[in-house]
Amino acid sequence: MTLEPSDDARWSSILHAALDTPVSAGWDLRVRQRLRERATRPHRAPRTLLSVTVSVVLVGALVAGFAITRGTAGTPRSSDPVVSALESGAGPAAPVAGGTASYVWLTSASLLYPRGCAPAGGSPPGCQATQTVRVDVIDWSGALRHQFVLPRDPAYPSSADAIVAVSPDGTRALLRDGRVIDDAGHVVTEITAMSPLLEDFAAPAGEIGDLGVTWLSDDSGVCVAGPSSWIRDPGAASKALQSGSSGGSPDGLTLEEVLLRGTVRTVASLALPAPVATADLAPPPTWGVAEATAVACDQTSDSASIAIAWQLSSDEASAGPSASSTASGAASSPTSHALLGSVIGPLSWALRLSTGAVLYERSWRGSPPDGTAWFYASGDGSLLADYRPSGSGCARLALVRLPSGSPIPVSGLPLCAGVLGIGSDSSRLLTIGSSTGGGTATVLDLLDASSGRIVRQVRLPGYFQAQAAAAPYGTEFILLIDGHLFLVDSAGGISELALAGVPLFAVNRPSGFFLVGPG
């Protein structure tokens, strides 16, 4: 096939129209500034070993990709190596029972510029962009059920993450302005009690921290976890930001249950261990940025799982395992502390939802080697997954049965394995990691969460990122990887869900952890 000159112009027009974005103000200056800083700092040891490693990794990926596309690895049913690798070696996924009655939301954001503005070279003054968020709602059979654009909120015209949390069955979503919409995009109610809190929630991430919001398992309302001072005074976070403060100093973590009909109940208030002075660290640090999450609130099992990670205002951190709770909100004092060499100090709790009684609590006794802390819990609150330091350069995935706190041994996972999703009934766990043995590969593992046994492992040539959503009442997952959507069942069966006209950029996990992918 040869390209005509007119084709050249046409493709150029298409790509420019699709990809042009405004350059951040001062970006090129920042790049040059960093360059100058690098040039004037002391020389570091050469990175020959790292360079060689990276080269080997890249060559390995190319070789593996070449081998797969030439059909030397298995008998792929699709020409796409990702599809063929996932669909080969096991049968197709079994349909999800009741799958047509629950939904997964896929979102994508666009900025609309008035005609005449030229975003590619930076927006000229007066060019005000308008943000829209498009939602594609699919059911668990893979059928597209609804497409709509989120109702705009004048208060947050530039917020792409307008959806705070999607209900477990995907029939409701809480928006940042307190409105609740259904799967067709219609506003069904408004939780006015949430509005002041969510105003704080809309503050720039990383500046004053975050709140954790997740739906109750029966869709009757939401659970909200956050620093107690913010829950008591919903304007505190905004005030802190406006005053130029680096953030609130959380005096504890509070979990509230907010029902759609407007009633609010404090489930528990938990004390955080106070920072302590040490010989190496004086004066004592203060709590800084806090990131709270409510990962599960289940009425059936009467359980809730919440966690908080925080950053200290010092370069050192301290954390202790001894927070305690009362249902009335009073908090007791911590009793012990452990000095960490990190700025992150995570704590997690399992609670009885009805009384706020603490069933389980845990903190890190070391520092995460990279990234930050995060937590996952099953919809029924009986399984918790998080990362712990391993000393190998990667955090180690740890599984804990709740509320007993008994660890579940896991072996055979690749280095740096992370959680993609936990089945709502706690029986399955989907993880992703990477392997360099025999060529660089992305490794997906489906685990039996009761034993830690690997039910199915799939190696994909090259590196991929992925997202997953857990079926609300079962063991299945919807997996988004490399532009493909798959259904994964409890036995490891995988089938691609073919969606026409849906932008496969992101999946909102219905467990309340809001994932929005690029674009």
Binding site: M1, T2, L3, D7, W11, S12, S13, I14, L15, A17, A18, L19, D20, T21, P22, V23, S24, D28, V31, R34, L35, R36, R38, A39, T40, L58, S108, S110, L111, L112, Y113, P114, R115, C117, A118, P119, A129, T130, Q131, R134, A160, D161, G371, T372, C394, C416, G418, L420, S434, Y463, F464, Q465, A466, G483, P503, F505, V516, G517, P518, G519
Partner: protein, 176 residues
């Protein structure tokens, strides 16, 4: 007696020259990263990291050779690494600057569809397409970045556009 420059001074002079040479390539590099990552924030971060990496590895560049294809190659590698970042999946923040030029929602949807198709292309095909039609590079320069012959570059671009044409279907006719 000849004056001696300290290592730091030497680096600064060299950095000035390097910066002067690199500056005109920054925006094309950002476009390349945008085409590969489809995310403006990630693209800008990738180019910044690539610039630092290029400085660290400036001795590896063939003397007298053009900086642009060498640097764009570094950007490509940096983008590949960025796509496999383990924590990006967890910590990814929404990109607020996904852009549409026109004000019609239909245009935004069309743009989303084009990006979806671009994302579905094999990385090497997407790279060839972006170099040719988003950076508007002539084929010899496309070939230089891809590390192949000019004819091979033409074939890769041709195959990529063919795949795009099939995947976009009627949507290709939406825009002039």
């Amino acid at each position: 007696m000849a004056s001696r420059r300290l290592p730091g001074e030497l680096d600064r002079a060299e950095a000035d020259a390097f910066e002067a040479e690199l500056s005109p390539v920054l925006l094309p590099a950002r476009r390349l990263a945008m085409g590969l990552l489809l995310d403006a924030t990630q693209a800008e971060d990738a180019v910044q990291e690539a610039a630092l990496r290029a400085w660290d590895r400036r001795r590896n560049r063939r003397p007298g050779s053009d900086l642009a294809p060498w640097f764009l190659g570094i950007v490509v590698n940096r983008c590949r690494e960025g796509r496999r970042s383990r924590w990006a999946r967890v910590l990814r923040l929404p990109d607020l600057r996904v852009t549409a030029i026109a004000a019609a929602p239909a245009d935004a949807d069309w743009r989303i569809d084009v990006r979806r198709v671009l994302r579905s292309l094999p990385s090497r095909a997407r790279l060839a397409l972006v170099l040719r039609y988003y950076l508007d590079l002539p084929y010899p320069e496309v070939a230089a970045v891809l590390g192949c012959s000019e004819n091979a570059a033409r074939v890769r671009v041709s195959r990529a556009t063919a795949a795009m044409r099939v995947a976009l279907g009627d949507a290709i006719e939406v825009r002039p």
